[in-house]
């Protein structure tokens, strides 16, 4: 597990040199694995108030009004966790902004099937059915990649 603010700990007095050396070795191994592109990555992304576990080639359906149109390429920014087969990067609460790149394409926008919301209060002559069709957007996740090295300044951050 690689923590985000490890540099601040390196400067404190109560960390033994063994722990520092081990941490540096772990970070170097992880960086090498990132560069070699050995494994498939997944990320936990925060979108429209919900958290989704996302990897390359996934399909996602989000409910509710959402502006992006069909065919648009979108980058999902709020990444809470990114992981590969060998290590995970846990954000507190978000991972560093330029580190993980999650891109998606909007595939379809339509209305769901008719959902019936039934309300009744017994013995009070109150009964109604609300028929609703919610707008749904389908996304295809194109890419989840760790673009930067860990523990280094990010390259493109807006």
């Amino acid at each position: 597990m690689v923590l985000g603010g490890i540099l601040s700990r390196l400067f404190s007095q109560d960390v033994s040199p063994n722990v520092v050396k081990e941490t540096k070795e772990v970070i170097n191994t992880c960086n090498k694995l990132i560069e070699d592109r050995v494994s498939r990555n997944f990320a936990i992304v925060h979108l429209l108030g919900k958290q989704w576990r996302v990897t390359d080639g996934d399909l996602l359906v989000v409910e509710g009004h959402w502006p992006p149109n069909i065919g648009d390429q979108i980058r999902l920014d709020k990444v809470l966790l990114a992981a590969t087969k060998d290590f995970s990067l846990i954000g507190r609460p978000l991972v560093q902004p330029g580190l993980v790149n999650v891109t998606a394409t909007v595939i379809s926008k339509g209305l769901s099937h008719t959902k019936t919301h039934f309300k009744k209060k017994r013995r009070k002559q109150y009964m109604k059915i609300h028929f609703q069709r919610l707008p749904q957007t389908m996304l295809r996740i194109n890419n989840v990649e760790i673009t930067n090295r860990i523990n280094e300044a990010p390259k493109n951050v807006y």
Partner: protein, 188 residues
Amino acid sequence: MSNSNLFLKSGFVRAPLQNGVGRYVCQLQRIVLKFCKSHGGSRGMRDFIEQDLVDFARDNPSVVVYLKPRRHRSPVVVAEYLNGDRVWMSMQNKTQSEITKWIENMRTQQGDLSAVRLRKYQYTDHPSIQGPWTPFTFKNPELNVAKLPNPKFGANDRLPMSATEQLRIMFEKQRISKEEVKEEKKEE
């Protein structure tokens, strides 16, 4: 939720032909607008055709638009999609803005979405990347060559020491034993 409405088929999230992985293809193939030239119910439809249709056709060159003026028939829109779905919708007594919204909705759908109840809102081909849990995942490999019963593996150390156990040990330590009482008596 129960499958209470058995006439509404349930299915999972699917996209035809891996749409989006390569290039994105708009799924609407053609749209047929049937209307009456004089009847009142087709008024919104006629307004749509006069004002918004040409822009729609220009913005979406991949959709073939057919117009069918038919006397004494109610206005109808039929959309055909690449996966074979046909969506029939009546536009009788709908205003022009409503018709625009419905046609926009038909353009962005990938088929008849109202016909299927989605069971899950996600689809993935790789549910496990770090390896699914097996009974062997966290098992100690030393168990393979160990001769059971083994005091190390049989020890009751799964849970940490409870507060009651700690109190009991503290009590036992400070307790005056029988030998100490005898020694005190002897000294006396």
